[in-house]
């Protein structure tokens, strides 16, 4: 169960300075289904009720409750939760496939909820494309025409859009299948078509709604690799919905964990695993092999003078698993080197502490309170 993809994850995200406008800025977002849904977010008494009480009192279901987060340019933002936690509704609110009840959604600083139909169509056509759980392909069209569909909607000419679509088909590894129909493809191949269709319109953000849940485990792994590869090559911003913790940890730069419509914790995989915000999250991440998610950064202790001079060198982003191997080979503590400078050491005691989850590492970090202020997860 190798979870981490260490080479991908940036050592730090200094690139996204706080001043840069987030791709999506969501603030105080509510989506309530049912009669008289509007009054629920406005009424402090109603909005404080638990889901069961709310349904009993008003007959309404709050799928998304007061959710706030930013999606930064170039990151993979994962929204994770069990079924019914509101994550699919949340991602649909971003492009108003589901109309939000209250709160704000902004894309590149532009208010999505204030857009008129033309502007909204513009947004859906060019700026955000979605990949669906059950693919959502048109069964009467060939693979090529399915991929070209978004371009056709935009009014692009036949020859041009087909050429573009053929490129995308090749990019997702379906070359030679252009003339097949969705019914003649396997599940994994169909989702590749769905992915190519989303990529074809060259959107600023890709939205994934549990795209791989309907696939076999092995195919799912392939597709995850594919997404990682695409992200590495193009650096496109992605919002990824999943109910699979492993998938979230593999793909996510940051993860928002949802429960009953609320975000209970938002942070990097390491933060979620290393310092769960509450018992729910703790229970959730209990079986995660911590040594593959945690980095030496959270395991190291300050180095003494002689330790700083010798021993195997590790980068701060290396996983604990890698550090264990290095320490075991050398039979001595390993140095954590950042830009040629020794920032700390890890030895078998500290590493064991991380694996056992009883870490007394020098600093607790990153945990965010469930209801606290905007989680500041940029600091790692």
């Amino acid at each position: 169960m190798a979870l981490a993809a260490p080479a991908r994850r940036p050592a730090d995200d200094d690139s996204s300075t706080p001043s840069a406008t987030p791709v999506f800025a969501v603030d105080g977002l509510w989506k309530v289904f049912g009669p008289g849904a509007d009054r629920v977010p406005a009424d402090p008494e109603l909005s404080a009720l638990s889901p069961a009480e709310l349904r009993e009192r008003t007959g309404c279901t709050a799928a998304v409750r007061d959710v706030s987060f930013d999606v930064r340019k170039g990151e993979v933002f994962v929204v994770m939760g069990l079924s019914g936690s509101g994550k699919s509704t949340l991602v649909r609110c971003l492009t108003r496939l589901v109309e939000p009840t209250a709160g704000t959604v902004a894309i590149d600083g532009e208010d999505v909820r204030a857009m008129d139909r033309t502007r909204l169509r513009e947004l859906r056509r060019h700026r955000a494309a979605m990949v669906f759980q059950h693919f959502g392909l048109l069964p009467h069209r060939t693979v090529l025409d399915n991929v070209a569909y978004g371009l056709q909607i935009q009014g692009m000419g036949r020859a041009e859009r087909r050429e573009r679509a053929a490129e995308m088909v090749a990019k997702v590894g379906l070359k030679g299948m252009e003339q097949r129909r969705p019914g003649q493809l396997s599940g994994g191949q169909r989702q590749r078509v769905g992915l190519a269709r989303a990529l074809a319109v060259d959107p600023e953000v890709l939205l994934f709604d549990e795209p791989f849940s309907a696939l076999d485990p092995l195919i799912r792994r392939d597709m995850q690799e594919e997404v990682i590869r695409l992200h590495r090559e193009e650096g496109r911003t992605m919002v990824f919905i999943t109910h699979d913790l492993q998938e979230a940890l593999r793909l996510g730069d940051r993860i928002a964990l949802m429960r009953d419509g609320r975000i209970v914790q938002l942070g990097t995989p390491e933060e979620i695993v290393g310092s769960p915000a509450d018992d729910y999250v703790r229970e959730f991440v209990r079986d995660v092999p911590r040594e593959q998610v945690m980095t030496v950064r959270s395991a190291m202790r300050p180095a003494s003078a002689e330790e700083a001079g010798s021993g195997p060198a590790l980068s701060p982003g290396a996983t604990v698993a890698e550090a264990i191997e290095a320490v075991a080979r050398a039979g001595a503590p390993a140095r954590v080197m950042d830009e040629g400078r020794c920032v700390g050491v890890v030895d078998s005691d500290t590493l064991l502490g991380v694996v056992a989850g009883v870490t007394t590492a020098s600093h607790e970090r990153g945990g965010t309170a469930p209801d606290g202020s905007r989680p500041d997860a940029g600091t790692v």
Binding site: R125, M130, G136, L137, L138, H140, Q152, I153, L207
Partner: protein, 655 residues
């Protein structure tokens, strides 16, 4: 109600329904205890009380007279119905002349090319053969007349149906408004539509075409709406997420996603149109149906058969070709090649037609016909002499018909007529409520009461008695055959092509063989109804039994149930919804043919309609038509299972 009450316990497992059924019956009993003495006190007697009838002959006659007087002068007729009528006449005439101009060679070639394109070489050969047989039987001109009427009616039905379906598919309110109307139209016998149309348009081609359109458009509308509504939600969401406009969404996604249903709708519309175009010969459609109608009127079975065979061939060819077009959907390449093909086919047809014309043979050569009427009539005469009666041990066919009439039809009819009118209403209410909900029961009782109010209680009960007898026979034979077909693969394989052919034949055609076998009267009408309804009942029963959850069956087998126990305790209870549907379909189909049986001596309501048409006595016909509508409504509602309770019943069965 004898037949219905005996069939109900067999289809409904008593343990499942017991509690609820008892409660419903108790409520009904209390209601009856209060109302019956009151009603009995005021309007005693067996038949519907005079005091409760409304004589419609005055106002209806006046309305009829007004329409006839104003047909040539009132703006409504001049500027609306007049144009409709002219447009129909002109277009039918145009198609007919085109078909004649193409000549037999051209029409056959065109039909074969279309069949080849849609369904492959085998059906093309079959189509060619079918058209040649039509010519050989000396029926080329009537076939072309029927075909011309069909082409116009089908085009109009498809357009009207698709538009209505589009409206119902896109708007929820429209759907709620249209659905009950379409559902009801689906269960009404074809005969009910004839008179109102005749009232407005008079007897002739326009009336025939419009009656056909009214009869054939509902399936198209239903299936279009169904297809549009059944579209995969996620696909539509994906289309939205790409920023499609409403028009793009409809044209590139919703309509293409519904294409299977659309083609099925076209197929059903064509079959219904053929069925009605033949029946509409009664109101001046001409063509093949008219030949059959005239021949039946003079009990000339040979001539009826010579016109009936082309009808059957036309039905089978049309059904197979359109069905195959729907089946091969998705594999074929669309686009410019289709137009290329159409152009090629048109050119080839023109070439063939021209070649035939140059050789001076646009019409079917008279020397090439085979007269089958003579031999067939001789065979029928022989049958009349040898099989009608006095065959040792088994008796003759006429004997059977006579016995069926005296031992089954007569007792049921006199029994129904002997029952006090309120008892009939109570029986209807009880049966409808046991199978369905209080709503269906209420509709059924109101429909039955309306028959009484219309003053046609007696002929309606006569028709009802024939329906009940025919339904009982149909269900016994149908369930037995269906169970056999569900249990034996080989039997089902043998049965399937037979059912396929039988299900595509227009109702009218069934009258021909029964007249040959049993002569005229009520028994042959009932026999035709049984033959017509049987295939549907067999098919639904077999399908329902086969679709029973295999896991439930396997668990029964693992507990050591014998195959009879499996059937009785697992398959039949689980297939209950399908069995109820079979009863419902059986009743609706039987009624349709029993009414048409008025043409071969079935009497009762069907005869009233024919009589009204023949004598120009529209009042009698209209009242009979309204009674047919009520009877159809009542029978459908009585046998309409409540969706929810049926499913619940099945659930109890598994538990």
């Amino acid at each position: 109600m004898a037949a219905l009450t005996t069939t109900t316990p067999r289809t409904a497992a008593p343990g499942v329904l017991g509690h609820r059924a008892a409660r419903k019956l108790a409520v009904l009993a209390v209601l009856a205890a209060v109302l019956v003495p009151l009603a009995h006190l005021r309007w005693a007697g067996g038949t519907w009380p005079e005091a409760l009838t409304v004589d419609l002959s005055g106002p209806l006659g006046a309305a009829g007279d007004w329409i006839i007087d104003n047909r040539d002068s009132h703006p409504l007729f001049l500027y609306f119905f007049g144009h409709v009528s002219n447009a129909v006449v002109v277009s039918v005439r145009a198609v007919y002349l085109t078909l004649l101009a193409a000549g037999w060679a051209g029409v056959t070639a065109a039909a074969a090319l279309i069949a080849w394109r849609a369904a492959g070489p085998r059906l093309a050969a079959g189509t060619t053969a079918a058209f040649l047989v039509c010519g050989l039987l000396g029926m080329w001109v009537p076939t072309m007349q029927t075909l011309a009427l069909m082409v116009v009616a089908v085009l109009a039905s498809v357009v009207v149906g698709a538009l209505l379906g589009l409206a119902a598919g896109l708007s929820d309110r429209m759907d709620r408004a249209l659905r009950p109307v379409l559902d009801t139209m689906q269960v009404l016998p074809a005969f009910a539509y004839l008179l109102p149309v005749v009232l407005v348009f008079g007897i002739g081609v326009p009336a025939a075409v419009l009656a056909t359109v009214i009869y054939a458009a509902p399936p198209m509308a239903r299936l279009t709406a169904l297809g549009l509504r059944g579209a995969d939600k996620e696909v539509l969401e994906a289309v939205d997420s790409l920023g499609a406009t409403a028009r793009q969404r409809l044209l590139t996604a919703r309509v293409p996603l519904a294409r299977k249903e659309l083609l099925l709708g076209v197929n059903q519309t064509i079959m219904m149109a053929l069925s009605m175009a033949v029946i509409a010969s009664v109101i001046g459609a001409g063509g093949l149906g008219d030949r059959v109608y005239q021949a039946l009127a003079s009990v000339d079975v040979g001539a009826a058969l010579a016109a009936g065979i082309p009808i059957v061939l036309l039905a089978v060819v049309l059904d197979r070709v359109t069905g195959a077009a729907g089946g091969s959907l998705g594999q074929e390449k669309r686009g410019p090649r289709l137009w290329l093909y159409a152009a090629g086919a048109a050119a080839a047809t023109a070439a063939v037609a021209l070649a035939a014309r140059l050789r001076g043979r646009p019409e079917w050569p008279t020397g090439w016909t085979v007269d089958i009427a003579g031999p067939v009539n001789r065979a029928v005469d022989w049958m009349t002499a040898h099989l009608y009666s006095g065959v040792p041990y088994i008796g003759g066919t006429a004997d059977w018909a006579g016995r069926f009439t005296t031992w089954v039809l007569d007792p049921i009819r006199s029994g129904l007529l002997w029952l006090p009118w309120w008892a009939v209403l109570l029986a209807v209410a009880a049966a409808a409520w046991l199978i369905g909900t209080w709503r269906t029961a209420l509709t059924a009782v109101l429909a039955m009461a309306a028959i009484g109010v219309l003053g046609v209680w007696k002929p309606s009960l006569d028709t009802l008695s024939q329906v009940l007898a025919a339904v009982a026979v149909t269900l016994v034979l149908g369930f037995a055959t269906g169970i056999a077909a569900a249990r034996s693969d080989r039997f089902e394989r043998l049965l399937r092509p037979v059912l396929d052919v039988f299900q595509t034949m227009p109702q009218f055609v069934y009258l021909i063989p029964v007249v040959a076998l049993f002569g005229v009267g009520r028994a042959p009408a009932a026999a035709a109804a049984v033959v017509y309804a049987l295939p549907a009942v067999v098919r639904i029963t077999a399908q329902g039994l086969r679709q029973v959850d295999p896991a439930a069956l396997e668990s029964a087998r693992s507990l050591g149930a014998t195959s009879a126990q499996q059937l009785r305790q697992v398959q039949l209870p689980l297939a209950r919804p399908a069995l109820l549907l079979a009863v419902n379909q059986g009743v609706v189909l039987v009624l349709a043919v029993v009414i048409i049986g008025g043409l071969v001596g079935g009497g009762a309501l069907g005869y009233d309609v024919v009589f009204g048409l023949a004598r120009g006595d529209l009042t009698t016909g209209l009242v009979a038509g309204a009674a047919i509508v009520c009877l159809g409504l009542m029978l459908d509602r009585v046998t309409q299972p409540a969706q929810r309770s049926a499913r619940k019943g099945a659930g109890h069965g598994t538990a």
